[in-house]
């Protein structure tokens, strides 16, 4: 297939996934901010910007990370290429450029989302009601995912699409966990205290994994178990290792089909193996934030290698 087609499919999937993850990130922020609403110097909104990797762009336009300003910037600011509406628009542009490679269901999922997003009213983005919009974004992203899995022919077009989804999802899960690093505990709270507990729970909820946690551990919420669930447990669908598993699978299918393996296969295998044989206590000893930063960088490198090999 044309490299440009593959590239468009890959980025289409990435942008749909990114829109969803921005929604999840905002969701966790709103939950955390709601925990201690009258705390002076509370910084959840600032932390979200850092975790999302868009602090620089934000502070170039704004003095303070007020809830309204951050919500505006992350949901619909056209200057922010990763704002949810920007993502949906880019996804739609990518789809339009490769209409012939999409199934009708995929096109409709992307196109109708964009058509609906265009006519959203101001009030939908207000701090107190934005959660409805965020739910809608997640729902539309799942619709797209469903269309891909349910209607796409299993060939290279599908594999490149799936690669986009999982590269983006791996990035986002790592950033979500990292939010916890950036959010400081209130002064009188200690690590392992009530605030710490609720912040971790918020992260679990934001990836729809609270119930999964209880199923897997049958234990009260403990930070290292949450980290383990979201990093090392292959049965958690948004965990880092699960994403890497999917990336490996799709890269392997490409290799079988094209008859050759490349540097991106080696990189993905290396990342996957590292996660498979890692222990959560070791990760915490070395520093969770450092581990996640390393992972995000390796994942970016993997994305670049995939682009270099197939998409240009």
């Amino acid at each position: 297939m044309l490299s440009r087609t593959a590239e468009n499919l890959y980025w289409l999937a990435r942008y749909v996934e990114r829109a969803e993850n921005m929604a999840r990130l905002l969701d966790v922020t709103i939950r955390m901010a709601g925990l201690f609403p009258h705390q002076a110097g509370s910084n959840e909104w600032h932390s979200t910007l850092i975790a999302a990797g868009c602090a620089n762009g934000f502070y170039a336009k704004h003095e303070d990370a007020t809830p309204a300003a951050v919500i505006h910037y992350m949901t619909r600011d056209p200057d922010n290429s990763s704002s949810i509406l920007s993502c949906l628009e880019t996804a739609r542009r990518n789809s339009r450029a490769v209409r012939t490679a999409l199934t009708a269901d995929m096109w409709e999922a992307v196109n109708s989302t964009w058509l609906e997003a265009r006519v959203l009213q101001e009030a939908e983005f207000a701090t107190e009601s934005v959660h409805r919009f965020l739910d809608w974004v997640k729902e539309r992203s799942r619709l797209f995912d469903g269309a891909v899995v349910g209607t796409m022919l299993r060939n290279d077009a599908c594999w490149f699409t799936r690669l986009g989804t999982f590269i983006e999802r791996a990035d986002s899960t790592a950033r979500l966990i990292d939010v916890k690093y950036h959010v400081l505990l209130p002064e009188y709270e200690s690590v392992g205290g009530a605030a710490d507990y609720h912040q971790w729970a918020a992260i679990l909820r934001s990836v729809s994994a609270l119930r999964a946690y209880h199923w897997v551990y049958r234990d009260r919420i403990k930070p290292w178990l949450i980290a383990e669930l979201l990093i090392l447990r292959p049965e958690t669908p948004r965990s880092l290792i699960a994403c890497l598993g999917e990336i490996m699978l799709n890269l392997d299918l490409l290799a079988q089909n094209y008859g050759r393996r490349n540097e991106c296969h080696r990189l993905a295998g290396q990342m996957h193996a590292k996660l498979r044989f890692e222990r959560i206590d070791q990760i915490f000893q070395g520093g969770l934030h450092e581990f996640l930063t390393g992972f995000i960088n390796a994942n970016i490198e993997l994305g670049n290698e995939i682009s270099r090999q197939y998409l240009s």
């Binding site: 297939m1 044309l2 490299s3 440009r4 593959a6 450029a97 209409r99 012939t100 490409l254 240009s312």
Partner: protein, 469 residues
């Protein structure tokens, strides 16, 4: 102006092949039609059949209005039109081959040399270049208008990159979905094989150096082109790659596309961009959508470009006036389809007549298209006519003039109900090793009362066109 010919019939007399439509219109309640029209809009909107209009305001992706009342031609009418089209397109191809070859038409004194050689549609790089099967215009859109039961005129020949065929196909799809019972009651000739015919046509003109199955690709300027929907639709239907300039590269005088598995050869390029953007080394050096080296590969016989570079020489409105002569000269036949009587303003006698009769003529810029840059005499003010007369005197070469024709009408849904509206017809003629024409074509309808302008950029709509047995 005389009364326009109503194709369904007039004065209570219904022409036989329209009888089924007439009784369907009478028997169907208005609410049902209202519902079906909304459904049709929904179908088109959902499949994304839009047309980009560059006005800078409103919805940039608009639907071309679709009218649900089909236009019906009977087998006898169509047989005549089909023969006429075949004849005309063969003559046009012979003319283009001659222009870039022996130039016998010029030497025989059938056309002044400067009209061809100084024409902006003449591409000097094509002189002496042999194209497969001698075909230059592989896809021609011949615009026809009708003035009475027997007379079709050719309004213009589109020999470069005629568009609209996707509307023809989608209009039929929509009609079959909306009104299956109508199709059950008529014997409508199918048209869905158009894309198969197109692919076969393109494969049949593979370049001489092609090895194995010819690979065909469709070259589009990109998603922002007004006809992009059509490009992607055709590529999809034919199962070929839809490529843009940056996807293509020429190496060792061969054309390749960049794929996820490296470079892959392309033998036939069905291009939907203008000549001047094809190759920045030969034409516009600032073209970002072009492919450097493409013309060299073409010249080396390693790739076929369809329609051929330089085919535009035949769809210039000044050249148009010579087509009947081409048919006589190259085919030794009398033309079946007539030209609209045309005055060539470049000839002094004609020009004087035109200036005296501006109030009853339509004057067209020979390089204009899409209904722009023309004067419709009967509708123009005195000042506008005076202004145009000055332009005619200054650059007579730029203009031709024709009488205002009473275009035929077909019943059409308008705000006030059903009313006759003027229509034209663009059949699509495919030329490879043989000539193929699917029955009918794209009917365009001027939705405003009294309007003769059917262009989609100026408020025209489309109709499904039936040839019935």
């Amino acid at each position: 102006m005389p009364e326009a010919f109503n194709e369904m019939g007039a004065d209570g007399r219904v022409r036989p092949h329209f009888a089924g439509i007439r009784s369907w219109l009478a028997a169907t309640p208005n609410e049902v039609f209202a519902l079906k029209r909304r459904e049709a809009e929904h179908i088109f909107r959902r499949t994304g059949i839009t047309f980009a209009v560059y006005t800078g305001e409103g919805d940039p992706e608009r639907l071309i209005p679709f009218d649900i009342i089909p236009r019906v031609l009977d087998a006898r009418e169509w047989a005549f039109v089909e023969r006429g089209l075949r004849q005309r397109v063969l003559a046009l191809n012979a003319f283009i081959a001659d222009v870039y070859g022996a130039q016998e038409f010029i030497r025989a004194g059938k056309i002044p040399p400067e009209r061809v050689l100084c024409n902006s549609g003449f591409v000097v790089d094509m002189v002496g270049l042999k194209v497969p099967a001698g075909v230059y215009t592989h896809v021609a859109g011949i615009d026809l208008v009708r003035v009475d039961a027997e007379t079709f005129y050719v309004l213009e020949d589109n020999c470069r990159t005629p568009s609209g065929v996707s509307y023809m196909l989608e209009d039929r799809e929509a009609m079959m979905r909306l009104f299956p019972e109508l199709f059950a009651a008529h014997r409508v000739r199918p048209i869905a094989h158009y894309t198969d015919d197109l692919l076969e046509t393109l494969r049949s003109v593979a370049p001489p150096n092609c090895e194995g199955e010819p690979v065909v690709a469709l070259l589009t300027p990109g998603a922002y082109n007004s006809a992009y929907y059509e490009h992607s639709f055709l590529a999809d239907e034919m199962g070929i790659e839809l490529v843009e300039g940056p996807d293509l590269v020429v190496q060792d005088l061969r054309l390749y596309m960049r794929t996820t598995q490296g470079l892959q050869k392309v033998d036939v390029l069905y291009r939907r961009i203008d000549d001047s953007f094809l190759d920045p080394l030969v034409f516009r050096p600032d073209s970002l959508v072009g492919i450097p080296g493409l013309i060299a590969a073409y010249r080396a016989g390693n790739v076929t470009i369809a329609n051929a570079v330089g085919a535009g020489i035949a769809d210039d409105k000044a050249i148009y006036t010579y087509v009947p002569e081409m048919i006589r000269f190259f085919l030794g036949e009398e033309p079946l389809l007539q030209n609209v009587p045309t005055w060539r303003c470049c000839e002094a006698e004609d020009c004087a007549y035109v200036i005296d009769h501006l109030h009853e003529l339509v004057v067209k810029d020979v390089h204009g298209s899409g209904g722009y840059g023309m004067l419709v005499g009967p509708h123009a003010s005195k000042a506008e006519r005076a202004d145009f007369a000055e332009r005619l005197k200054a650059t007579p070469d730029r203009y031709i003039a024709q009488p205002t024709l009473a275009l035929s009408t077909c019943p059409t849904f308008v705000d006030s109900g059903i009313a006759p509206r003027h229509v034209d017809l663009r059949p699509f003629v495919l030329v490879g090793r043989e000539v193929r024409i699917v029955p009918g074509g794209l009917t365009r309808v001027a939705l405003r009362e009294g309007s003769l302008v059917v262009n989609s950029s100026q408020g025209g709509g489309t109709k499904d066109t039936w040839v019935v047995d």
